[in-house]
Symmetry: C3
Subunit: 263 residues, 3 copies
């Protein structure tokens, strides 16, 4: 993590998102603020061309419909063909049969990282959960076993975000305890975490460490923003300012990481 932000800013990775309408503005601003560049393009006629020029792809199913699902599949498939890293954000997994069906289709394209809240990760791992729509009714701790199962089955990195974030692969687990309680009161913070992972995937070889870096940046920027804020409205704007001015030294000083031994 020593020079994670410096490396990111030197690379200035292009990150393509095929994401939901609600958060497009947030995620574009977060990428610009941290030093990356967003691209949003979903037309079937160009989605593969875009994948070929970006550093990483992020697919988020929040406001999916048939046209967009086809865009997501075309993009994910092309990322796989080109060996480019891509992130799957399974928003609302488990809330409807349609979402589950689409996720089954997308996961076949071998996402480099899957990031969701506990309910979404539990649902993806076929654990029956009570859905709260797009919010999580479960704590992230409860989904660690399901996350490991997913990571092993699909040979991917799984990130479970929540009050504590977990980054998991077949053997490793990192727990990150940065962040602030107001962050879930701002729409799209989870989706922003996913594009942040995309940005770090564009600048860092190891997807596991890229994910740890991204989630730590999210948490630390959230803490710094909260210190200047009076609620979730002001948090959102200070969050971009914090991403913009965050240094690697601040990141290291404030990171609260626990690295577990391989299990």
């Amino acid at each position: 993590m020593e020079q994670a932000l410096e490396k990111l800013r030197q690379t200035a990775p292009l990150v393509q998102s095929i994401t939901n309408y609600v958060v497009m503005n947030n995620t574009a601003n977060a990428l610009l603020a941290v030093g990356a560049s967003p691209i949003m393009a979903h037309a079937h006629k160009e989605v593969r061309d875009m994948v070929s020029i970006v550093h990483a792809l992020v697919v988020n199913i929040g406001t999916l419909d048939d046209y967009w699902v086809e865009s997501m599949a075309l993009a994910a498939q092309h990322a796989l063909e080109l060996g480019k890293p891509w992130v799957l954000d399974p928003v609302g997994a488990g809330a409807t049969p349609y979402r589950n069906e689409v996720l089954g289709q997308l996961i076949a394209f071998k996402p480099t990282v899957i990031r969701g809240n506990a309910s979404e990760i539990l649902s993806l791992a076929n654990v029956a959960v009570a859905s709260r729509g797009v919010d999580s009714a479960n704590r992230s701790e409860e989904a660690v076993d399901a996350g490991r199962q997913l990571a092993t089955q699909f040979d991917t990195v799984v990130c479970i975000s929540g009050a504590s974030d977990f980054v998991i692969d077949r053997h490793r687990t990192v727990r990150i305890e940065n962040g602030h309680e107001w962050m879930p009161r701002v729409t799209g913070m989870g989706c922003t975490a996913s594009v942040m992972i995309g940005a770090f995937l564009g600048a860092e070889e190891d997807p596991f460490e890229a994910t740890v870096n991204a989630m730590t940046v999210m948490g630390v920027a959230g803490e710094l923003a909260a210190e200047k804020s009076t609620g979730p409205g002001s948090l959102q704007l200070h969050f971009y300012d914090a991403l913009f001015s965050l240094t690697d030294k601040q990141l290291l000083d404030r990171a609260k990481l626990t690295r577990n031994e391989p299990t």
Copy 2:
């Protein structure tokens, strides 16, 4: 109104919006800030499944097209079937024949509440008005008779928002004089009022009182936000902070309501 916010926050209602692209982010943030949870889903294959898990539905025709109109109709019909409350926001009523045709279709599914500006309510009631697009060229007072006619004809609650807001049913009228002149300079404040009504419908039996509560919360939060702001940009963010920290006591202290005798 005594414990309106407390009740809302205990319920934490899930509110599904099928709304326009411009305001999705705002309305999601407002719901999260006040203590509710937003869901945005419009795919024909899941829109009814989502209606079945939420407390209330909001349909806003701002950026309609044929696919989305079908989503709106599917959702509104299912809300009617399940007896779930739903709000119709007739953005731009009267601006084009297409909008009027779509509104005729949607209103048949018996919205629990209709909220619009004066021009929209006049247009819905078939009063010829000069359109200003999605802004209102009329004062809310001018639409009270049209609102009563609509409320009676469709057995619904009608809310006319403007410098003064009116909540109307067959017999009752409440005039709310909270709010701030900068609020119409922030995009989507009307749309936000509609989802706020959706949130209170999820936590309060009587749709008339739920609408009064929602509009008073909007106005009081707008006033509190304006006190800290230097224009419509800062108003928007302080508005979320105000929704987040608003108490029932503040609400009661600042509410400027006039309840009229049945006419």
Copy 3:
């Protein structure tokens, strides 16, 4: 430029945008803050009706797909038929063959103004450029000759935005050196410039001067906002506040314009 803002606010022009999902909220807020009114409507069944009631149209291809391209073409064609001014924002020109094909189709409807960054203007003028997606890899100075060629060929005004902005027609060039380095770190500032041009086109006869006014307002508002900001997050909100309170006197005092002799 003497009374540019006063004239705009008296006219309160209706500006229709057919634009990308990422920036709809920003551009609507900017129009409201400066004193104009936004309309976003793209349904094939109403897009021409909307063109007929607005002062100006803005077409931005950021998140295009086939349905939206048809909406753009219908609207642009109708603007041409009615003699209404319209602005073309060729987002990501050159990034994919599909974008180039669509731009070829739209430019045939004779945009009143074309506004893009240097890479986009170079690409539109068929100069081979290395694409950075939707960001510019070129300085605006490098695109002045290409801009003049476009302006001459299509009898239009061309605006190249960047650290310095250029407004160009067949004979004239104005260089504007207002603005702030954080502005490109806020998503949609270019798109906002395009709708601002739309607003001034609705209030000013000469499209060249309207474009100069709009770009100067953008730059000066950005400078005023930066003085109060700690990064791109706070810049965005202070930018709306600055647009809202900006006066013609401030505009004249701070404008850094260089008008070149006809070349």
